[in-house]
C-alpha cells in the first residue's frame, strides 16, 4: 500500500509534465489545426538552455530567460516549418517540416551539449519531504503547481486580454477572424510561441528531477501527444486528467513490470483511444460536412 501510494505520488508529478506539454499541442492545434512534431525538442532545448543559463543566474532568474527563449523558438518553428504548408494546404508538408526542424534541433543540441545525460542543479533541497510515509521531492511539488499555474495563466490570458480573444477567435473560425481584421497568421505564430514556451517551461521544471540531455525530447513529445489524444485536443481538463492517467500507469508499469517497458502502456493507450474514440475521452466529435 505504502509503495502504491509512493508510486502514485511520483506518477502525478510526471503526469503533470505530460499534461503541460500536451497543453502546448492544444494551443497550436486550436489556431491552425497543425501540431509541432518537434514539441519534445522544444522542451529539450528549453531545458538545456536553462542548464547553461542557470550557472550564471541561479534557478529563479533563469526562468524568464528560458520562457523568452521558448517564445522565440516557437516563432522560428512556425515561420520555417508551418507557414508555407498552411498556405499551400499541404498536410504532409507541415508534418515533414516540423519533424525536420525537430531532428535539426536535436542534432545541434547533441553537438553543443554532447550526447550524455546531464545533471540539472535543483533549486530546492533534494531531501524528500515525508507525508504520511510517502516521500515527495520538493521539486515534484513545484512541478505540479508550476504546471497548473502555467496552464491557468495562458487560459486567463486567452479569456481576458484582447490579444487572447484574437487567439480564441482564430481558433473558432480562422476565415471569419481574418475578415474581422485579426492578423491570423500572426496569431498562429503567437500560438506556436506560447506552445514552445510552455514546453520550455516544462523542460526546466522536469530537468532537476530527471536528467537533461539532447535525447530527452523524443519520448516526452510522443507521450505528451498520447496525453493530448487521450484527453482530447480541445479539452483543457482532458490534458490534466490524461497526463495523470499516463503518469501513474507509467510509474506503476516501471515498478511492477520493468522499467524497460514503462513507455509501452501510454503508447498502447494512444493506439486504443485513436482506434475507438479519436476525439479523446473529453473531446467532442465533429460533424463532417459534405
Amino acid at each position: 500500500m505504502q509503495i502504491l501510494a509512493q508510486l502514485i505520488a511520483s506518477g502525478i508529478a510526471v503526469g503533470m509534465i505530460y499534461g503541460v506539454i500536451a497543453f502546448g499541442y492544444q494551443l497550436t492545434f486550436a489556431t491552425s489545426k497543425t501540431l509541432n512534431f518537434g514539441q519534445g525538442e522544444a522542451l529539450m532545448l528549453g531545458s538545456l538552455v536553462g542548464l547553461t543559463v542557470v550557472s550564471f543566474t541561479g534557478y529563479w532568474i533563469m526562468l524568464p530567460i528560458v520562457l523568452a527563449f521558448g517564445l522565440v523558438q516557437g516563432a522560428v518553428v512556425e515561420r520555417l516549418g508551418v507557414r508555407q504548408a498552411i498556405r499551400t494546404k499541404s498536410e504532409a508538408g507541415w508534418i515533414m517540416a516540423t519533424i525536420a526542424l525537430g531532428i535539426i534541433f536535436k542534432n545541434l543540441a547533441e553537438n553543443i551539449w554532447g550526447r550524455d545525460a546531464l545533471k540539472f542543479p535543483s533549486p530546492l533541497p533534494e531531501a524528500p519531504l515525508s507525508f504520511m510515509g510517502v516521500n515527495v521531492l520538493p521539486m515534484e511539488v513545484v512541478i505540479v503547481f508550476g504546471a497548473l499555474a502555467m496552464m491557468l495563466l495562458v487560459e486567463v490570458f486567452n479569456r481576458r486580454s484582447i490579444y487572447g480573444k484574437a487567439v480564441v477567435a482564430t481558433a473558432n473560425d480562422r476565415d471569419a477572424a481574418g475578415l474581422m481584421g485579426i492578423n491570423t497568421s500572426l496569431v498562429i505564430t503567437f500560438s506556436y510561441s506560447l506552445s514552445s514556451m510552455t514546453a520550455a517551461f516544462a523542460g526546466v521544471l522536469v530537468a532537476p528531477v530527471t536528467l537533461t540531455g539532447a535525447a530527452m525530447g523524443g519520448a516526452l513529445g510522443l507521450k505528451a501527444f498520447a496525453v493530448a489524444i487521450i484527453g482530447g485536443l480541445s479539452s483543457g481538463m482532458g490534458v490534466v486528467v490524461g497526463g495523470l492517467i499516463l503518469g501513474i500507469t507509467e510509474t506503476l508499469t516501471g515498478y511492477y513490470i520493468s522499467t524497460g517497458y514503462k513507455d509501452v502502456p501510454g503508447l498502447v493507450l494512444l493506439l486504443l483511444v485513436l482506434s475507438f474514440k479519436p476525439s479523446g475521452l473529453f473531446g467532442s466529435a465533429t460533424i463532417k460536412k459534405v
Binding site: T34, I103, N107, L222, G260, L270, L274, K288
Partner: protein
C-alpha cells in the same frame, strides 16, 4: 523509350559485378536496392494514399528480426525466412492500420510513430527472443558453388557469395518493381488515390476507404518485411538501433526527395539516402558537393532573377540558403556529427522548393522537350453504357421508403419526422429553401449520417446505419453538391473507380496479371469510355479531373455515379453553375437515365428543371415536409409559396 531504358538498366545490373570488382560498391548497390524496396512500398502509403508513416523502420525491423530470430533460435535459413518475414510484416502492417479506421493525417502519423517506438522497445526488451541490445549475427548463404561448373568464373568463395547475393537482391528488386507497377496501375492503385482526393466520394462509390487504407498499409508492410530479410542477410548483423525513428525519417526523406508516385523517384531517393553518409564521411568531397550546389543555385537563381524581376525576393531566399549551406560546410570540421542536421535541412528544402521531388521536377522539365506518349485511346460505344439491373421490388411497391426520419445535430433538428416514398422508375424532385434539410436527407440516404430516429428501406431492406460503401453496393449512387471528384485521376480513371464493384479478381490476380485480371481491366475500360461518351466527355478521357471546367465536372460525377449500376441515383443540384445550353443537355441526359429504368431523386434550385423532369415533388422547409404531389399541385400550394417568398403560415392559410 521507356522500354529501352528498362532494358539498359537490366543489362547494367547484370554486368555490374563483373565491371566493378570492389566489394564496397557491390555492397552499396545491394543496400540501395534493399532500401528501394522499402521506399517503393512506402510510396504506396505516402505517395498514393497521402498518409505519412513514421513506422516503416519498425516494419523493416520486424522483417529483419524475423529472419534473425529464425536463424538464431531455430537455425532456419534464408528461404524460410522470406515467406515468414513477409507474413509477420503483413500482420504488423494490419495492426498498424487498425486505428486508420478512425483517423488520418497527423493522428495517423503519430500512431505510426507510437507503433515504431513500441516495436523498438519490444525488440530491445524481449531478450529471450531477440537477444536484446546485443543483436543477432547471421551469415550470408552461398546458394550454389558454381565455380566447378563455370570455370571462367575465377573468384574466391566469399566473393562468389557476395555476387550471388547481389543477383538475388537484384532479382527481388525487379520482382517488386513489377508487382508494384501492376498493383498501382490496377483498381487498387486508383482506389488509393481516390481515397486521398476525396474519402467521402470513395465510400459513396463503393470503394471502402477503410478497407483500402488497410490494404495499402498491409501491402507496404509486406514489402518492408521482405526488404528486412534481405537487409539482415546482407549486413550479417542486426541490432535494435538499426531500426530507429531516424531510419523512418530517412525512408520518408528518400520518397519526398526522389519524387512521389513513381518507381524512379523512390529508387533515386534511396540511392541518395544510402550514399549520403559516405559522402558526409569525407569532408573534402562534401564541401565540393555543397560548393557545386551553391554554384548551380547562384547561376539558376541569377537567371531567374533577370527573367522574373518581380519574384526577386522569393528567388533570393533559396540561393542564400544554398550559399549558407556551403559556408556551413567550410566551417565544419567533422561533418558526420551533423548528419541529421543535413537530413533535416534537405527535408525542409524539399518541402519548400521541390514538393514534387527530384524526379517530379525532372519529369515536368522533360515534358517540355519530349512529348509524352499518347495514352492508349479509350473508345466507347453505345452498347456498353448500360448494364441492366432491374430493381427487385414487386409491382406497385416503393423502391425507397423513408419512415419517420429524424436527424438531430445538437439542438437543431435538420430533419424532423420525414416520410418519403419513391416509386421505381420515377423522378422524384426534392426542393426547399436553403437550409431546409435536402442535403442532410441525401447524406442520411447514402449512409454518411446515421439518422437519430426512423428507418430507411431500400428494396424492402433496412439500410440505415450501414456504411456508405455498403449502401453504394446495394445500388444507391449519388453526386455531390460540392463536386467531389478524384482530382489527380484522369476522367477515365474516375469512372473506373465507380466500376470497382465489377471486379472479381483480388490482389493476387493483379500481381500475377492473370487472364482474368486483364480481361476485367479491359472490360472496365470499355465500359468507362462508353459512359464518358454518354455524357459527352470522351475527348477529354485522359485529362486530370481537376482541370475540367465546373459544368463538365458535374457531368463527370453523373457518369461516375452511373458506373455503380445504381437502381437509385441521387442528384444533388446537378444544374448548379451550368449554362443554359448545358442545362438542356443535362435534362436530356436525365431523361435517358430514367428511360433505362433508373429511379432518380433530384435536388435542384432551378424550378423549371425540377418541374419539367419530376413525376412527384416533395418540399422541405426547416426540416419538415410541407408539401408533396404533382409538380403543378406543389407549385400552387400556399405553404410552398410562403416558404419561398416569405410570409407567415397564417397569411398563407
Amino acid at each position: 523509350m521507356k522500354r529501352l531504358a528498362t532494358l539498359a538498366a537490366i543489362a547494367a545490373a547484370v554486368l555490374f559485378p563483373f565491371l566493378v570488382t570492389s566489394p564496397y560498391y557491390l555492397h552499396l548497390v545491394v543496400v540501395i536496392a534493399i532500401f528501394s524496396i522499402v521506399t517503393m512500398g512506402l510510396d504506396i502509403v505516402f505517395g498514393y494514399t497521402g498518409e505519412v508513416s513514421l513506422g516503416h523502420a519498425a516494419l523493416f525491423g520486424v522483417g529483419a528480426y524475423t529472419a534473425g530470430v529464425l536463424a538464431f533460435q531455430f537455425g532456419l535459413g534464408f528461404w524460410i525466412a522470406i515467406p515468414c518475414a513477409i507474413v509477420v510484416a503483413l500482420a504488423f502492417g494490419a495492426l498498424l492500420a487498425l486505428p486508420a479506421l478512425r483517423v488520418t493525417g497527423p493522428y495517423l502519423a503519430m500512431v505510426t510513430l507510437a507503433f515504431g517506438t513500441i516495436v523498438a522497445i519490444l525488440i530491445n526488451e524481449m531478450t529471450f527472443l531477440t537477444n536484446g541490445p546485443l543483436g543477432i549475427s547471421l551469415s550470408k548463404p552461398l546458394f550454389a558453388d558454381v565455380r566447378e561448373q563455370l570455370p571462367f568464373l575465377e573468384m574466391s568463395r566469399p566473393r562468389l557469395r557476395d555476387v550471388e547475393y547481389y543477383y538475388v537482391v537484384m532479382a527481388s528488386f525487379a520482382l517488386v518493381v513489377l508487382v508494384i507497377n501492376r498493383l498501382l496501375a490496377s483498381r487498387f492503385g486508383r482506389a488509393f488515390e481516390a481515397l486521398r482526393d476525396s474519402p467521402i466520394a470513395s465510400d459513396c462509390m463503393g470503394v471502402s476507404v477503410y478497407r483500402h487504407k488497410v490494404l495499402a498499409f498491409v501491402l507496404s508492410a509486406g514489402f518492408a518485411g521482405f526488404a528486412g530479410v534481405l537487409f539482415a542477410y546482407s549486413e550479417q548483423y542486426i541490432a535494435p538501433n538499426n531500426f530507429s525513428f531516424e531510419l523512418s525519417i530517412q525512408f520518408l526523406l528518400a520518397v519526398t526527395m526522389g519524387g512521389r508516385k513513381s518507381r524512379v523517384g523512390p529508387v533515386l531517393g534511396a540511392a541518395i539516402v544510402v550514399y549520403l553518409p559516405n559522402l558526409l564521411a569525407d569532408i573534402g568531397q562534401f564541401r565540393a558537393v555543397a560548393g557545386s550546389i551553391a554554384a548551380v543555385a547562384v547561376l539558376s537563381g541569377g537567371w531567374r532573377m533577370i527573367k522574373l524581376p518581380e519574384e526577386r525576393l522569393r528567388t533570393l531566399v533559396p540561393v542564400l540558403l544554398c550559399l549558407g549551406f556551403f559556408v556551413f560546410s567550410l566551417l565544419l570540421e567533422k561533418i558526420t556529427d551533423y548528419k541529421l542536421t543535413v537530413f533535416g535541412l534537405m527535408i525542409l528544402f524539399m518541402v519548400y522548393y521541390l514538393p514534387e521531388g527530384i524526379w517530379g521536377f525532372v519529369r515536368t522539365g522533360l515534358a517540355g522537350f519530349v512529348s509524352a506518349p499518347a495514352p492508349i485511346a479509350a473508345r466507347g460505344d453505345d452498347a456498353n453504357v448500360w448494364s441492366a439491373t432491374a430493381p427487385r421490388v414487386a409491382e406497385g411497391r416503393a423502391l425507397l421508403e423513408v419512415k419517420h426520419i429524424t436527424m438531430q445535430f445538437g439542438g437543431l433538428k435538420a430533419l424532423d419526422n420525414i416520410d418519403l416514398t419513391v416509386m421505381p422508375g420515377t423522378i422524384h424532385g426534392l426542393i426547399g429553401p436553403n437550409g431546409s434539410g435536402k442535403s442532410t436527407m441525401m447524406n442520411v440516404l447514402t449512409g454518411i449520417y446515421t439518422p437519430t430516429a426512423g428507418a430507411v428501406a431500400f428494396e424492402g431492406q433496412d439500410i440505415q446505419g450501414q456504411t456508405p460503401s455498403a449502401i453504394a453496393g446495394a445500388g444507391i449512387a449519388r453526386t455531390f453538391q460540392n463536386v467531389q471528384l478524384f482530382g489527380e485521376l484522369s476522367l477515365l480513371q474516375n469512372i473506373m473507380v465507380g466500376l470497382n464493384h465489377f471486379y472479381r479478381g483480388g490482389v493476387a490476380d493483379v500481381a500475377l496479371a492473370t487472364p482474368r485480371a486483364r480481361r476485367e481491366e479491359a472490360a472496365a475500360r470499355l465500359r468507362a469510355a462508353s459512359l464518358l461518351r454518354f455524357v459527352g466527355l470522351e475527348a477529354l478521357a485522359h485529362e486530370e479531373a481537376r482541370n475540367l471546367p465546373y459544368g463538365k465536372q458535374r457531368l463527370l460525377e453523373i457518369a461516375r455515379a452511373l458506373a455503380l449500376d445504381p437502381k437509385l441515383l441521387l442528384l444533388d443540384e446537378p444544374a448548379a453553375g451550368l449554362t443554359a445550353p448545358d442545362i438542356k443537355e443535362l435534362i436530356a441526359i436525365i431523361h435517358k437515365i430514367r428511360d433505362h429504368g433508373i429511379t432518380l431523386i433530384l435536388i435542384e434550385h432551378h424550378m423549371d428543371v425540377v418541374m419539367t423532369l419530376s413525376d412527384t415533388v416533395t418540399v422541405l422547409d426547416f426540416g419538415q415536409k410541407i408539401a408533396e404531389g404533382k409538380p403543378a399541385e406543389v407549385q400552387a400550394d400556399a405553404k410552398v409559396i410562403a416558404a419561398y417568398l416569405g410570409g407567415s403560415h397564417a397569411e398563407a392559410a
